[in-house]
């Protein structure tokens, strides 16, 4: 082989194509791409600075613990905070078990190449890409119209809508569907970090598959489950489009007490105050305060998730 290539005269054309121009330092591509990074960082800084600057003066203990007053031009946002917390709490109860079990099925029970697994994966990926407003339409058509309406006609005929109307349970189930891919993806990532030796050790001790999953795999995957749940909460707390028709209300004089009550929510409250207020200047401080609270909540949740995840990744490197 070697002699052959040596014997063959190298054509000049071939050489030219492979040659790189010397002495081009690459300053221009480096500078241009760095500029893109700088612009993104500056934009982010401007957004954060503007919101913190505008909102920090408004956020006080009273603001966080009192209901809106004078047609939302004064007072606080307590009902919206309460509604958001209740909403994501119900959502987590629905989405975490389903998401975790789905991830376990995909990772522990099926081969990654089987047709059904690939189908399910495509479905999960696509679920993540469906616009949130379409989830809202679905929530209205399926949860409120089909399930709620069905319950009403079965058990409450003649009483007017009991379940077949916008309510916190339907909004949280809609959000649960929206955040399902988040939980699945991050649980699966955790499952991949568990060394197979642990499972084999459990089998060697006589554990069945289910016992291994329940007592070895799930406890080991807890950081991933936690990360997924937190990210889902952060995502769910910020989404407005899916809950506009499925349960969120402009203003309510009472807090939601039953599953079929409507509720106020931070993101929706921002939308309402920003676009429907008769006097934007008067509501501006409250508006900025609400945005700051929502943003702080979202970032706090995300930071916790990032810390847990990076710890989990370090553990994997260690093993």
């Amino acid at each position: 082989m070697i002699t052959e290539t040596q014997d063959r005269p190298v054509e000049k054309k071939e050489l030219v194509e492979l040659q790189f121009r010397p002495k081009t330092s690459g300053t221009i591509p480096r500078g241009l791409t760095l500029l893109a990074v700088v612009i993104i960082v500056v934009i982010l800084a401007v957004i954060m600075g503007n919101i913190i600057w505008g909102g920090i003066g408004t956020v006080s203990w009273k603001f966080l613990t009192h209901p809106p007053e004078q047609g939302m031009e004064a007072g606080g946002i307590f009902p919206a905070i309460f509604g958001t917390v209740a909403l994501v709490f119900l959502m987590v109860i629905a989405v975490v078990p389903i998401g975790v079990l789905t991830a376990i099925y995909l990772h522990e029970y099926t081969s990654p190449t089987s047709k059904m697994t690939r189908f399910i994966r495509v479905a999960i990926n696509n679920l993540a890409g469906v616009p949130s407003i379409v989830f809202g339409l679905f929530g209205l058509g399926f949860f409120i119209g089909f399930i709620g309406g069905g319950l009403d006609s079965l058990f409450y005929s003649g009483e007017g809508p009991v379940w077949g109307q916008p309510a916190i349970i339907w909004a949280s189930l809609t959000l649960a569907l929206l955040t399902l891919p988040v939980v699945i993806v991050s649980t699966e990532e955790a499952l991949r970090t568990i060394p197979p030796e642990l499972r084999e050790a459990s089998y060697a001790l006589g554990g069945t598959k289910l016992q291994t999953i329940w007592r070895i795999v799930i406890p080991q995957a807890m950081p991933g489950v936690l990360t997924g749940s937190i990210l889902a909460v952060s995502r769910g707390a910020g989404e407005v489009a899916p809950i506009m028709f499925t349960g969120a209300a402009y203003y309510l004089p009472y807090l939601p007490g039953k599953l079929n009550d409507q509720f106020m929510e931070l993101g929706y409250h921002i939308y309402v105050m920003a676009t429907q207020s008769p006097d934007v200047e008067a509501t501006k401080p409250l508006l900025y305060g609400t945005v700051l609270v929502l943003l702080a909540l979202t970032f706090a949740l995300n930071s916790i998730a990032i810390v847990i995840r990076s710890r989990m990744r370090k553990n994997r490197v260690g093993t």
Binding site: P29, L101, P181, A274, T275, L287
Partner: protein, 319 residues
């Protein structure tokens, strides 16, 4: 040792456990199917119901209509006027216009930052860039919409001397901020997954680091970057709250990016709450939702397929 002992195996329990877990996995699949079914179900009268077709047949929604005898035929979206007008053309144009502006804004920044992060940045810088993008991705869209409405719109108006604060440019830029993280993440992922052997080969041929990036890594990762752009476009088309708050929401047929636009998603969000259940207007809004669903479904499927093929090719080359 006591604690390590497993209880005697129960076949029934194993069987039921596996079934319970597998049933969950099908929920994602079922959800996609149900979303499709229930959003379409409400849109079906467009194809079957004569009364609905009188006002909004496929033909009437697509082509110019002469709404009053003798007046010029035009495209118009005025669902609440005496003669309801359901032309989808202005909405389609608005959606595309906002999405294209968003992509023109997000593509250079997202791809540029991805190239810098994967090719030029040292480890410490990269560990700064990635969280910045994650923070940007974590900002709820209602907050971006709020920022565009309150700050960006005023800024653009002053700089460009505009008559209208809320327009396609304003909405497009804000939309771009939501798209940047998607473009960045997918593109960066594609570039870092280019195998080291390719880089080594180019270096051995005398390329300096940025030449390696430009002539070897970028071409190899191009499908991945394209997938990032495609997925970003899907997000831009489906995003609701940003355009709802920042675009001005006037359904105008015009090519200018300084005119107000009304997008598909914002139309659903703004109008569905006030619509009579089962009316023509209601049906048309669900039809729009179905269009959005199908469009984003195809976009996501396409993006995933490109990425899967790229992964296969890059891994194939290393072996």
């Amino acid at each position: 040792m006591q604690e390590l002992k497993f209880k005697p195996k129960s076949r029934l329990r194993e069987f039921l456990g596996e079934k319970l877990i597998s049933v969950n996995a099908y929920i994602a699949l079922l959800a996609i199917f149900l979303i499709f079914a229930f959003v379409f179900k409400e849109a079906i009268p467009i194809f079957t119901d004569g009364a609905v077709q009188q006002e909004a047949s496929l033909e009437k929604m697509t082509f110019k209509q002469e709404f009053r005898a003798g007046r010029e035929a035009r495209w118009s979206w005025q669902p609440n006027s005496d003669i309801p007008k359901f032309s989808l053309w202005p909405l389609f144009l608005g959606t595309i216009k906002a999405a294209i502006i968003a992509m023109l804004f997000a593509m250079p920044l997202g791809i540029g930052a991805a190239v810098y992060s994967s090719e030029f940045a040292d480890r410490r810088l990269r560990e700064f860039i990635k969280p910045v993008i994650e923070i940007l991705a974590a900002i709820p869209s209602v907050v971006l919409g709020f920022f565009a409405l309150m700050v960006l719109a005023t800024f653009l108006q002053n700089v460009l001397g505009l008559t209208f604060r809320l327009n396609a440019l304003n909405a497009g830029i804000a939309l771009g901020l939501a798209v940047i993280p998607i473009v960045f993440t997918v593109a960066e992922d594609a570039m870092t997954s280019v195998p080291g052997s390719l880089r080594d080969a180019a270096t051995a041929l005398g390329a300096n680091p940025w030449q390696v990036s430009l002539t070897t890594v970028l071409p190899a990762a191009t499908p991945g970057i394209a997938a990032g752009v495609v997925l970003g476009f899907g997000r831009a088309v489906g995003e609701t709250m940003i355009v709802l708050m920042a675009s001005g929401n006037a359904a105008i047929v015009s090519a200018s990016m300084l005119d107000s636009v009304r997008t598909f998603s914002a139309t659903i969000a703004a109008e569905l709450a006030e619509v009579v259940f089962g009316s023509t207007h209601y049906t048309v809004l669900f039809f729009i939702g179905a269009l959005l669903f199908v469009f984003t479904f195809l976009i996501n499927l396409g993006g995933d397929m490109i990425l899967a093929r790229l992964k296969q090719r890059l891994q194939g080359k290393t072996s």
